[in-house]
């Protein structure tokens, strides 16, 4: 109710990869699962870790670390799989830790033009600044489309 004045803001699920914080549009997130046994799929792209059984559905799982060229995942108690759905297709993303859900007003989101990073620019939608820390907002569609 108190958000009526912030009509231009969206909610983002914020997660960590290493020391960096990333955010994805909460509308796209279907469910967040603990890490579980992943069945490797031979000959799949390097960042696809395999498939999992999500209540009878087979869902491919990708490692965002591999996708972004960071060092390999080490699974621990904090590791989560965020299942996102885009156009009827579901895919899981392995992240180090899911932190919180943040409301980020659109004026607090900055473009990333002229910004250097190891991560492909296509994957980034913008950078959100909330309470002094920086959240990289991901463009899920571009990340996932480059999977196909």
């Amino acid at each position: 109710m108190e958000n009526i004045s912030m009509a231009e803001s969206k909610q983002y699920v914020v997660f960590k990869l290493g020391n960096e914080e990333y955010g994805i549009d909460i509308q796209k997130v279907q469910i967040i699962e603990r890490i579980q046994n992943i069945t490797r799929v031979p000959k799949s792209p390097y960042f696809i870790k395999g498939v999992i059984n999500l209540r009878g559905e087979i869902i491919p799982v990708m490692s965002l670390r591999s996708k972004f060229g960071l060092e390999e995942d080490e699974y621990n108690d904090e590791t989560r799989i965020i299942i996102v759905g885009i156009e009827d297709n579901k895919i899981g993303m392995i992240v180090d830790q899911v932190k919180e859900v943040l409301q980020i007003p659109s004026e607090a989101i900055e473009n990333v033009q002229g910004f250097t990073s190891d991560i492909n620019f296509n994957f980034i939608q913008g950078v959100g600044k909330v309470n002094g820390h920086i959240v990289t907002l991901l463009n899920l569609k571009n990340i996932i489309d480059s999977t196909v």
Partner: protein, 690 residues
Amino acid sequence: MDMSQYLEIFIEESKEHLQGLNENLLQLENEPENMAILNEIFRVAHTLKGMSGTMGFTRMQKLTHNMENVLSEIRNGHIRANSNLLDTLFKCLDALENYVNEIVNTGSEGTEEYNDILIELGEILSRNSETIEDKNKENFVDTSSTSDINVSNSDISNIALTEFENNAVESAIARNFNVYEIAVFLNKSCVLKSARAFIVFRTLENYGEIIKAIPKVEDIEDEKFEFEFTVVVISKESKEAIKKGLLNIAEVEDIIIKNVVPQNNPSSLTDNISGNVIHENLIPKNTIQDTIYEEDSEVSKYSGNKSKPKAGKTVRVDIDRLDTLMNLVSELIIVKTRLEGIDGENNSQNYNEAVEYLERITTNIHDAVMKVRMVPVERVFNRFPRMIRDLSRKLNKDIELTMSGEETELDRTVIDEIGDPLIHLLRNAADHGLETTEERIRKGKEKTGHIYLRAYQDGNNVIIEVEDDGNGIDTKKVLNKAIEKGTVSPELAANLSEQEIIELLFKPSFSTSDNISDISGRGVGLDVVKTKIEALGGDIEVKTTLGKGSKFIICLPLTLAIIQALMVKVGEEKYAIPLNTIQNIEDVKVSDIQYVQKQEVIVLRNQVIPIVRLDKVLDVQQSNQTDVITVVIVKKGEKQAGFVVDGLIGQQEIVIKSLGKYLSGIRMIAGATILGDGEVALILDINTLV
């Protein structure tokens, strides 16, 4: 008065009738004198006319009506049923099928009138014009009999209008529209009065806008009227046109149309009205709508409801099958209760029994559900006789199609997909396979070419064969073409066996016909057929003898969703191999492996079988080398291969699940399945691995 609830029944029944019509027309061609068939055709056409009329599909009704006229001439012996006449009737059938398909897709019959067919039917009739008169009395009041329409100013309506309606009338007349009061009299024997009234309303909407109804529309809907009702309509059309249109509706006995004038100044406008009759259809109907505001909101019900629901995919199920399913589910509940009752100790005997019971029921449920999904191949086959007939006329070849095993059942999904490949094969057989009549006579063959379409069940598979007694496949010609097209290099070509050459036919864009016809040989070749069949989990083979004919054999799995599989271990990973592809399992000494051009092979009962190291192919971490390896021999068509596995887990029933869009590009894996412990195991795709 919502007709959509009847739409599905209408579609389902129309399809059945059209199919019946198709079969009977084909029979009629062979026995033009057979009265029983003719009567049956007439009956079906009549039923279709009635059904489409009730649903308000006037174009379809018109077509069937005209068709019926011709049929009745044949029945009376005035016209003989020859091939040309049947061509026209088949065209009608196609048109009707198009209407039904349009209704399936959009909920309305569309706007195609098929005037060419109507003219053809008319020509057939006019050749026998002396007999037409008696026909029109049958059911429909013919348009010619309604010529006595009065346009004199005397019949000006004195219907009471509200102020609002009066304004609408005034503004309409000012815009050169005509306003009519139409009294509709229904036949006294009419049973569904409201349904008829509904059709009248729909018909009138084609002419213009209804602004008032007496009694009220709600009352008409509830059948609260005797056999007549009155409406006020604003239209560009002439009285005659409207009257003609309305009288075409079945069970409408009479129509009286009067002009309506605004009530405060009636006299000044009457001249204007009679002059307006000429301006027909100058303004599209939609423009009328923005000038008129309907007071009675009920009226808008008829015009607004454009988005009709589409018809879904359905399977007609024998009630017995559903009963079986129901019984099984109740048994399942019994076992559940029994398992709940077992608590811990000393009950292992009871527990085992319950589990065995459960196992039996799940197997039976599986069978029962599969059976519900099963549809006889007749559904696909039934359109082929007609197709072959048309091809035979088009190609000028005598062709006889013999079908068998139409009752063989296949999964609904397979049935939906198998039609196109079969059409392709049949066309190929008729166009390329069979020789021309002259050539057949020259070769001393029977003049009529035969095509056989057979379906039968073979274990867990259904086999469909398309065989022709034509010229067979000329392997030399195929080879030359393949070299010419670059499908195969000349060096390699020399070593190809007969069977391997025939398989070249299935390579992409390979068409051997020298001349491209519109029947087959459009460059989309057998490779499409093969891809489609493989996508269904099936397989296709060809057997051919030059000069004698060829035979395409399609092998399809009975079910798609659940299969028997052998679970194997490769390294630490589990994989499933479909059981129907497995020939046998052998323990082979490593020292027995031999090499043919660096390819590992084993010799088994005098057959050389190539070895596939699954761990290498699947990038599994190298397992310990042993002296004896387990080899699973699989067979795909004529080809065999031995898969080296690290362990056998056992036979299991698995449910096939797709890997989804993102991983669909991985060719070695046909899908995934969920094991009893919730883990995922991948299913190997034998087609690509062998």
